[in-house]
Amino acid sequence: MNLAVIPVAASVSEWSDSFLERLPLFARDWLTSWLPEPWRWLVNSLLSIAVILSVFGLLFAYVTLAERKILGRIQNRPGPNRTPIPFTKFRFFGLAQPFADGVKSLTKEDVVPRGADHLLHFLAPVVLLAFSILTFAVIPYGRHLVPVELNAGVLYFFAAGAATELAVFMAGWASRNKYSLLAAMRALAQLISYELPLLLAWVPVVLVAGSLSTTEIVAAQAGWQFDIIPHWYVLTPWGAAGFAIFMIAALAESNRSPFDLPEAESELIAGHLTEYSGFKYALFFMAEYFGMIALSGMAITLFLGGWHAPSPYLEFIPSYVWFMGKLSALLLGFIWIRATFPRLRMDQLTRFAWKFLVPLALINVGNAAFWSLSLHWSGPLQIFRWLISAFVVVGPFVLLGRKLSAGVAPRVYRYAV
């Protein structure tokens, strides 16, 4: 039996023309049909921008609420449940809390230090948010739902993400506060250190899929083995390693626990955000959450098969629902990790990136190259292929892990009895 993986053209499936799948397209065509021909592309673009901003804006608001409630439950308390819907008494477990938070941050006084560089102080959150939103353009949210189809989509995504680092520097510099500047430098060091594992983590995916275009990468993960196991890259040894490295680097890139040294309250107050208040602070956090959502979306595209269903019997659920489900699962994973792990110190952070993640990511590239070269091994050799690939993942992990925690003995706690 030949178990070789053969990618199937993605959009040809019995469900690709179903009503639910085409529903967004019908809506878009109906809206643009009100206008004459030359304007349609403009309204098309504006419509996709509006949909992305509203959907992910709402998602951002409810992710903050979900985070507070889930963190609360893990910490044996209920989380916010008091905010009622305005002018009524209905609380609904605090579902109106994000809007209360929004009103609070909008109405807070915007304090800018007198010696601060006002233009840069204003531009920093704007630039950060602009580039974070730009990254949403290439993620395929559904079978027919890609805002912009680019030949080098993945590269565009990470280029826009790299430009956000500039905003962190601008925030720290413009505050005219030496502690903010120090913290901004540390934040930049963290961002640059983790950019390398982040970029190296998707190189194997591009290698195996043969394209930098996000839609083609999703198409390369189509199809199922025995109608149960999907061809997602995360279910291969190098894919699992790549996914883990990508998620860890994504945590660090969006300044998220346990890598949230730049914004920790006990370190240098709020780091590079010390001199920001009110709406600008809210914009920084919006940019952080958008970064989280965008990186999760890219992880889904690269490793988790994009909008594909895990089994052909579940294909009646539309593709965008699957995408949102996977996105929610990843975001809940982010929240779970935040609740569990203590913060990493600066030197631990950088050591982890350079001495552990980068070598692992480089080895992963080699592993993926071996995988794609051994595509046509047949029969029992397939088992060897899996075993060799898994060994190349697990071996260096164990060895590097031992080296990473060498010289650090397990803590022995002695209590005064």
Partner: protein, 205 residues
């Protein structure tokens, strides 16, 4: 191996999360003000005056204005003025009563010394803590009417203490009654003895 501790930690938080929905030990928050904590019996806040029944609070105060608590109070926050006349108390004996009994709760430090020294079990510690007001001075000075609460209330907040006090007071009352009965009997006997004609002296021989 690297990562085993991480996975164990993730398991602990997951257990906490799932447990918070069905296990009360994993969701320990008491959502005040809809739910209030059960206070321990010995909890105390500010004093109150015990009355025997609630229908005539001022007439059945146990306090006899002996002013011992006023003298013993460390921050001197009690102010008492004796009445000019006497009223019969629960045992029927005419006693003085406080015309003015005021406690300044902004000064009171809840030390319970007034309760410990009162010979009549007239002042006890209350447990109410939701007494915040917007007036810093006159609203924090509690007068006799505000301080008087019934014995039934005392039983509700300090059940064992109140039962013990009631038993003691009842025993005292019984002892006093018995003594009064004995004294009356003795008096009656003495009176009878006095009223009885003197036995005629036998003629002198």
């Amino acid at each position: 191996m690297l990562g085993t501790g991480l996975l164990q930690g993730l398991g602990v938080t997951a257990k906490n999360f799932v447990g918070s929905f069905h296990d009360p030990a994993r969701l320990t928050t008491i959502e005040y003000p809809e739910v209030k904590t059960k206070l321990p019996e010995a909890y105390r806040n500010f004093p109150f005056l015990v009355t025997e029944n609630a229908t005539d609070p001022m007439g059945t105060l146990r306090c006899v204005a002996c002013q011992i608590c006023e003298k013993e109070c460390p921050p001197q926050c009690i102010y008492i003025e004796k009445s000019k006349d006497k009223k019969p108390d629960a045992a029927g004996k005419p006693q003085l009563f406080p015309a003015i009994f005021a406690i300044d709760t902004s000064v009171c430090m809840s030390c319970q010394i007034c309760v410990e020294v009162c010979p009549f079990d007239a002042i006890k510690m209350d447990q109410v803590y939701e007494i915040a007001t917007t007036d810093r001075f006159s609203a924090l000075l509690l007068n006799r009417e505000q301080l008087a609460k019934s014995n039934v209330y005392y039983h509700e907040i300090h059940p064992t203490e109140a039962a013990e006090v009631d038993a003691r007071l009842a025993a005292e009352r019984k002892a006093a009654e018995a003594k009064a009965v004995a004294a009356a009997a003795a008096k009656a006997a003495a009176a009878a003895k006095l009223a009885a004609p003197v036995a005629p002296k036998p003629p002198a021989v």
